[in-house]
Amino acid sequence: MEIIKTNNLKKSYMLGKVEVKALNGVDTSIEQGEFVAIMGPSGCGKSTFLNLTGMLDIPTSGEIYIEGNDVTNMNSNKRAEYRLKYIGFIFQFFNLFNELTVMENVMFPMMLNKRPNYKERAKELLDLVGLGDRLNHLPSEISGGQQQRVTIARSLGNDPKILLADEPTGNLDTKSSIEIIELFRKLNREQGQTIVMVTHSPEIGGMADRIIHFRDGTIGN
């Protein structure tokens, strides 16, 4: 089943007085349960594509479908609600809430979604990412690789249908990077989690089911 579909997706923005076409007509389709890597040179539109499919940004034209629903022109409140329930984000910079403990960071999106038993679920997820013994640590008290694993646990809290990861290993050493990708593979195989990951690294990209290459705002060969 098709979980993400884009039709002639375009995004341009102004850089001073110059119009920059970040995406220039992207048609793509991602199936449920796929682990897709998006690769391409810097500035080719990878992150813009992720922002648009994650409903963080609005396209200049074209359509985005999530599970067959047109989400292109949803208002900002509806998009926020969709993000909360259907999409999990993982960013290059771990972006945890520094004032919350590891456990609270994972709990927080579930609290927002009024999910029952969120404490138990947070513990389960932290066990899953191998941080069951770091529940009460602050983000500043754990390593970069561990922080990224907390981010992954946090993104899974509301059982999102889609996990969007923008350079999730870009700030990690090789060992931690491999651990993170192995975790993605585990989630994808064992839980059927759909994962769309932007990466520069051919090694990391090679571990996905499929690679979509971007070039100059379009999908290349």
């Binding site: 992150s47 922002n51 994650g54 963080l56 940004d57 900002s76 409140n77 509806k78 926020a80 609600e81 969709y82 993000r83 909360l84 329930k85 999409i87 984000f89 960013f91 910079f93 972006n95 809430f97 520094n98 004032e99 919350l100 609270e104 927080f108 999106p109 609290m111 927002l112 979604n113 009024k114 946090r154 509301n158």
Partner: protein, 391 residues
């Protein structure tokens, strides 16, 4: 999409208590600003209340009859006294004569106001004769005794039993013995007043059966508006003033003091509010990326606005609550321990009015919340993409 207040409060609480030093400093500024409103206004209320009480107790009656315009004295005092005695709610009355003179002692002389009164009537009408700081009161039959106001006594170095020479405006000069020294708290009165029996003043001024003023005490001072026209008609007098009219100068004084204290309290409160606003604003600026992440996770603008407004509310609730307690305790302390005003030589105490408590609470809290509005709006308008990627 509604705002989940529980989650907003969870995050606000965590965020606000993260830096305890900043939290304590900001809360302290709200505490002091709130307590300041209660204490300063309580002291002003106490001072003004004491002034009104003093004025009513010693210088004016509930109703006061003055001579007609262009007349110096009220004539036919005897008949007027009979008519007053017949009125149902007139509890007491006291005619007084005011004249000028010069009191001298040991080469020192001070222009003085001579206040002549009937001690028996005066005791029933005012508490003037209870305001003796030394000595004893005069009585109706005293021919050579006077009371001297406290600062006049100081200026002329007079004490109980001393002899002082009083020159009346008529040219008569007579030596009197100081029987008592009076202090009312009224600067004018305490500075230059000589009190003597009414009959003695009649003798020295060559007048009789008249008064400069008649002070009337009613059984209830709220009845002045009913009795004023009745007395004007029955006694055939035109110039009658109520105690409220008499203390109008105190009201004006009070208003000017209240304006001053409001400015002082307002400045403190604004300073506290600005510090709350700045702290939350800086927090928003520093947290742009986290706000972006929060929005990416699925929170809407209203949630972000609520989070940062709640931070202001937490500062407000804690600061105002402790400020109220501190203000209340301070007022109670000043009520129980009045302090001496060096200028008027009177004891000033504070007065606690529940209304003051409500005003301080509402104003402080509202101003603190208002201070959080702009940073909260700023936070809610953070654009996700710009915030996360810092573009």
């Amino acid at each position: 999409m509604s705002v989940d207040l529980r989650s907003a409060l969870f995050y606000s609480r965590k965020d606000i208590f993260k830096n305890r030093k900043v939290f304590i400093i900001i809360t302290l500024s709200i505490i002091l600003a709130t307590a300041n409103i209660i204490v300063i206004n309580g002291l002003v209320d106490g001072m003004i209340g004491d002034l009104v009480d003093n004025t009513i107790q010693s210088s004016v009656g509930h109703l006061n009859i003055y001579p007609d315009d262009n007349e110096r004295f009220i004539e036919g005092l005897g008949i007027k006294e009979q008519k007053l005695a017949a009125l149902k709610d007139v509890e007491a009355y006291s005619p007084r004569i005011s004249a000028t003179g010069v009191l001298s002692n040991k080469g020192l002389s001070v222009s003085s106001t001579i206040l002549a009164l009937n001690p028996d009537n005066e005791r029933k009408t005012t508490k003037l004769l209870e305001k003796l700081v030394r000595g004893t009161a005069i009585n109706s039959n005293d021919k050579n005794a006077i009371l001297v106001s406290s600062r006049l006594a100081e200026d002329l170095k007079l004490d109980i039993g001393d002899e002082a020479t009083l020159a009346f405006e008529t040219g008569v000069v007579k030596v009197y013995v100081v029987k008592g020294i009076v202090r009312t708290g009224n600067l004018d009165f305490d500075g230059s007043t000589v009190i003597m029996p009414l009959n003695e003043a009649y003798r020295q001024l060559g007048i009789d059966n008249m008064a400069s003023i008649i002070l009337i005490k009613l059984s209830d001072k709220s009845m002045t508006e009913i009795y004023k026209p009745m007395i004007m008609q029955n006694l055939d007098v035109n110039n009658v003033k109520t105690w409220k009219q008499e203390t109008e100068f105190v009201s004006n004084f009070a208003n000017s003091w209240r304006s001053t204290s409001s400015v002082i309290s307002g400045v403190g409160l604004i300073a506290a509010a600005i510090s709350v606003g700045i702290v939350i604003y800086i927090n928003v600026i520093h947290k742009k990326r986290q706000i972006g992440i929060m929005k990416a996770m699925g929170t809407n603008d209203a949630f972000i606005f609520t989070v940062f407004l709640m931070e202001a509310a937490i500062f407000g609730i804690i600061g105002v609550f402790i400020g109220d307690c501190l203000g209340y305790l301070s007022i109670r302390y000043f009520e129980a321990n009045p302090f001496l005003d060096a200028i008027s030589q009177t004891w000033i105490s504070a007065r606690f009015e529940p209304q003051l408590f409500y005003i301080a609470t509402i104003v402080s809290f509202a101003v603190t919340i208002l201070a959080g509005v702009y940073p909260a709006i700023k936070a809610s308008r953070v654009e996700i993409i710009k915030a996360i990627w810092g573009t």
